[in-house]
């Protein structure tokens, strides 16, 4: 069949940017098609900035930001957001921590008030700290300790690939570190990283720009100015020899494996990075993709397979160093070596023979759908624009992503595939300790 290229559409969300005197950067992106808004506050601190001996602290601190603030009691934040018909959450990433709400648009001022109040000062009490350490321990039990494949591979692969504490440590944290955290640690972390100059506020959806600007200024204008701390250099050299390790997961019924290769700097070399984002999809998106066709359908050496950029699957909101990851679950008694060898073989084949007719265009069309679907939700827009502003000063890039993905060439994808050599690979194998 001849390749017919679907035209890649784009969004045209307007973007208004400004910076308050205290250094807070603001992004507004109006869209009045539904009476809802998304509000996101992103702080430029994440797992990589945790002090040694304080694994899991960035995430623990995220919990503490919900425990009351200058004018609000514990529980008030939740009640005020939900009592306005909204939903909320926060999440901790390698390079940032976000706080967000989706609300009916009549709650705009309330949301700004709530975010400004905790930006001025969360209530950091011993009681709340002890309570949230307990809650976080239960979160870790649910997501890691009490379930098969817990933390695979986002917690288990970085220590294979990286050597320095910022990149290699467990971002969920050890129970020992969590339990020994103090209120003073939290206060210090807040003072250093939760500065107005280290934050971005984004509001999307049913807003009037002039009115929203006025409200943002009213509520955030007197947040005390503190400059952003200097971000350390987290760079690590690339691997020059393959690294492999394995561990037994007592609950896992089947073997699994994940492999990763370093990729170009997503921020300073975006053009060099994008082909890897496309490559991951060429390899793994659906039954017509390279590795699914080969490993799942033809060889039957794996039962499921995924591929993505960034340890948290966040191609456009992560900084260097990061990686392209492939992960697979194998059938009982599956041969991990064979799977890795086949992946190497397919990467070679792609690098040498190139793509088939239409393979790239259809992958790009599907990527466009995924990107557009994510931005359809007001919150998806606010969050992504906030991080794009923070890491690149370029929130409008969100509108450009489908097109830029569509402009990646076959040559670039081939060249990217050619760099994924076994000697640059870090891999981790899960041995099924729970096989029956």
């Amino acid at each position: 069949m001849a390749s017919r290229r679907s035209r890649i559409p784009a969004t045209k969300y307007p973007v208004e940017r400004f910076t308050l005197d205290n250094g807070l950067r603001v992004v507004l992106t109006p869209d009045r098609s539904a009476p809802v808004i998304g509000v996101a506050v992103v702080y430029d601190v994440g797992i990589r900035s945790e002090p040694e001996g304080r694994t899991g602290f960035a995430h623990l601190f995220e919990h503490l930001m919900f425990q009351g603030s200058e004018n609000l009691e514990k529980l008030a934040h939740f009640r005020h957001v939900q009592g306005a018909g909204g939903t909320f959450n926060g999440s901790t990433h390698l390079d940032y921590t976000d706080y967000f709400e989706t609300l009916p648009s009549n709650a705009l001022e309330r949301a700004l008030f709530l975010e400004a109040d905790r930006m001025r000062g969360p209530r950091l009490t011993e009681e709340n700290l002890r309570n949230q350490v307990d809650v976080v321990k239960e979160e870790i039990r649910v997501n890691v300790l009490n379930r098969p494949y817990g933390g695979f591979p986002w917690l288990t692969l970085p220590p294979v690939m990286f050597d320095t504490f910022p990149n290699a440590h467990d971002g969920y944290g050890s129970f020992d570190d969590l339990e020994s955290a103090t209120v003073a640690d939290a206060a210090d972390f807040f003072r250093r990283y939760y500065a107005s100059g280290n934050a971005v506020l984004a509001v999307s959806g049913d807003i009037d720009v002039a009115e929203a600007t006025e409200l943002v200024t009213r509520h955030f204008g007197d947040v005390p100015a503190r400059p952003a701390p200097k971000r350390p250099d987290f760079t690590e050299p690339d691997l020059t020899a393959e690294r492999r390790t394995s561990y037994t997961d007592a609950l896992a019924p089947l073997p699994a494996v994940a492999g990763a290769w370093r990729v170009p700097d997503p921020v300073t070399d975006f053009a060099g990075y994008l082909p890897y984002v496309v490559l991951a999809e060429v390899l793994t998106d659906g039954d017509a993709s390279r590795l699914v066709e080969r490993l799942v359908q033809r060889d039957r050496t794996v039962s499921s397979l995924g591929g993505y950029l960034g340890f948290m699957g966040d191609p456009f909101d992560v900084r260097d160093p990061t990686a392209l990851l492939l992960q697979a679950h194998l059938p009982p008694g599956g041969d991990v070596d064979k799977v890795l060898r086949t992946i190497d073989e397919e990467l070679d084949r792609l690098a040498i023979d190139g793509l088939t007719d239409g393979e790239l265009a259809r992958t790009q069309a599907r990527m466009a759908t995924h990107l557009l679907r994510d931005t359809d939700a007001v919150l998806g827009r606010a969050l992504q624009m906030a991080v794009l502003e923070q890491q690149r000063g370029e929130p409008g890039l969100l509108n450009e992503l489908p097109r830029l993905v569509g402009e990646v060439t076959e040559e670039q994808v081939r060249a990217a595939a050619a760099t994924l050599r076994p000697e640059r690979r870090a891999a981790i194998e899960v041995i099924a300790g729970g096989a029956r």
Partner: protein, 447 residues
């Protein structure tokens, strides 16, 4: 305590602006000659279209149903699985199939410029899925692997035990087939099942996105008008009433947490009690600012994500409360849970608690409708239960007018702990004493 303060001193929470009335988007509907109902809703925010096809699928053989959904996209008379996937990809599209005891669901999304092509491919699969032996064999093994992984997950095991406990001999009681049953499924059985049960009569196709509804209906009629075939339909019996009884403790030695599941009676969306019950549920445990979450998470730190919600199925509704709690506090967590249920069932809620829950219920209706995917899911769930989107307005009105008395009565009727069926999955040796101090416990090994 460390708190930063700013010179402005205490500030007060700004009031909410005027509420925007719930606007139900326009929809168009047509029932084709073959019995397929097509519903199209316009939401042009992004140049995409969402697709949901609901085919009634009650009383289908469990393993064959699961395998049918796993292999339906594995090939047709003229296309291989790779060709189907590639052709969908070309228009930015994708399709996936899933089953539950009520329905077979084909879901997808793609660039709106590809709507015709996606519908053609959907029709191709519906009318000539061929269940090729090789692909069926591959998918059989994959499904067995997936079931094995599911069976190692506490949430899945707790769910299985709960369903058995509350549904007894009803078809809803078992929803995951055993690996052995999957291995016995042959392609011929899938072709038979497809011809018997995958037919347009009674099915609903929902299209939501950047489309003119009438044009979308025309496109669907062109593509799917030729989907023929009539076969068996099957009605599910109503679900049995919930039988309270001893707590069922499922022993999973070595668990570092216990999975607590509590089932309570509930009513369908159209029942007059539904809106008050929904509000009572929110106040109990249905959202973060609920009594249960504030108690066992924010006060006591027993758990991370407790939640309760009403599950609507075609044959009945049930309210389920779920929490994963630390092993050492399993008994105390149950105590607090029963306390909160009992307190709400026997004392009316405070007016401000009700207003907060009401605003949340009304606000999240707006949020749920604000994306194409959200609208598609809602429209399809409604359609599968015989409702249309305009029911949203009626439901919002019911939420708006439910009084404290209405909510208190619903809580007394449905949330009373005496009516609960309770299942706990955890390390029996460690949690039995704490649970047995509160209620009668019956222990079973994990399946």
């Amino acid at each position: 305590m460390t708190t930063t303060t700013t010179p402005a001193g205490p500030r007060t929470l700004p009031p909410l602006g005027p509420t925007r009335k719930l606007k139900v988007p326009k929809q168009a509907e047509r029932t084709l000659r073959n019995g397929l109902t097509v519903i199209a809703v316009r939401r042009p925010a992004v140049p995409l279209v969402e697709m949901r096809l609901w085919v009634p699928f009650g009383r289908v053989h469990l393993a064959r149903g699961a395998m049918l959904s796993q292999t339906m996209l594995s090939g047709t008379e003229s296309m291989t699985s790779v060709q189907i996937a590639a052709e969908l990809q070309k228009v930015g599209g994708g399709l996936s199939a899933g089953v539950d005891p009520d329905r077979l669901m084909l879901s997808g999304a793609g660039l709106v410029t590809g709507l015709d092509r996606m519908l053609e491919l959907l029709a191709e699969v519906l009318t000539s899925a061929s269940y090729p032996s090789d692909e069926v064999a591959t998918e059989r093994d994959r499904l067995v692997d997936r079931i094995q992984v599911a069976q190692s997950q506490p949430a899945h095991l707790a769910r299985e035990a709960l369903l058995k406990r509350i549904y007894g001999r009803h078809p809803y009681a078992t929803q995951t087939p055993e690996p052995g049953q999957i291995r016995a499924v042959r392609p011929a059985a899938l072709r038979t099942l497809h011809s018997e049960r995958v037919h347009p009569a009674g099915a609903q196709l929902v299209l939501v996105g950047d489309v003119q509804p009438e044009k979308a209906l025309d496109a669907a009629e062109r593509a799917l008008g030729g989907w023929a075939g009539a076969g068996r339909t099957a009605e599910l019996p109503a679900t049995p009433p919930l039988e309270p009884g001893p707590l069922l403790l499922v022993d999973r030695p070595g668990s570092v947490q216990s999975s607590l599941r509590i089932a309570l009676p509930a009513v369908s969306r159209t029942d007059p009690d539904h809106a008050p019950l929904q509000l009572a549920n929110l106040i109990f445990g249905g959202y973060f600012s609920s009594r249960w979450v504030e108690n066992i998470r924010e006060d006591k730190g027993y758990t991370y994500g407790p939640h309760s919600g009403i599950e609507h199925s075609v044959a009945g509704s049930v309210l389920v409360a779920a929490a994963e709690v630390a092993t050492e506090v399993t008994g105390p967590a149950l105590l607090e849970t029963t306390y909160e249920l009992g307190r709400l069932a026997s004392l009316p809620p405070k007016p401000e608690e009700l207003e907060q829950a009401r605003q949340y219920a009304l606000g999240t209706l707006q949020l749920g409708m604000s994306t194409q995917a959200g609208l598609a899911a809602l429209t399809s769930a409604y359609a599968g239960n015989g409702l249309r989107l305009d029911f949203l307005a009626e439901y919002a009105a019911r939420l708006a007018k439910a009084s404290i008395d209405d909510v208190a009565q619903a809580a007394a009727r449905y949330l009373a702990p005496a009516r609960a069926a309770i299942v706990v999955l955890g390390d029996a040796e460690r949690v039995t004493p704490g649970l047995a101090a509160l209620t009668t416990v019956r222990t079973e090994p994990v399946s």
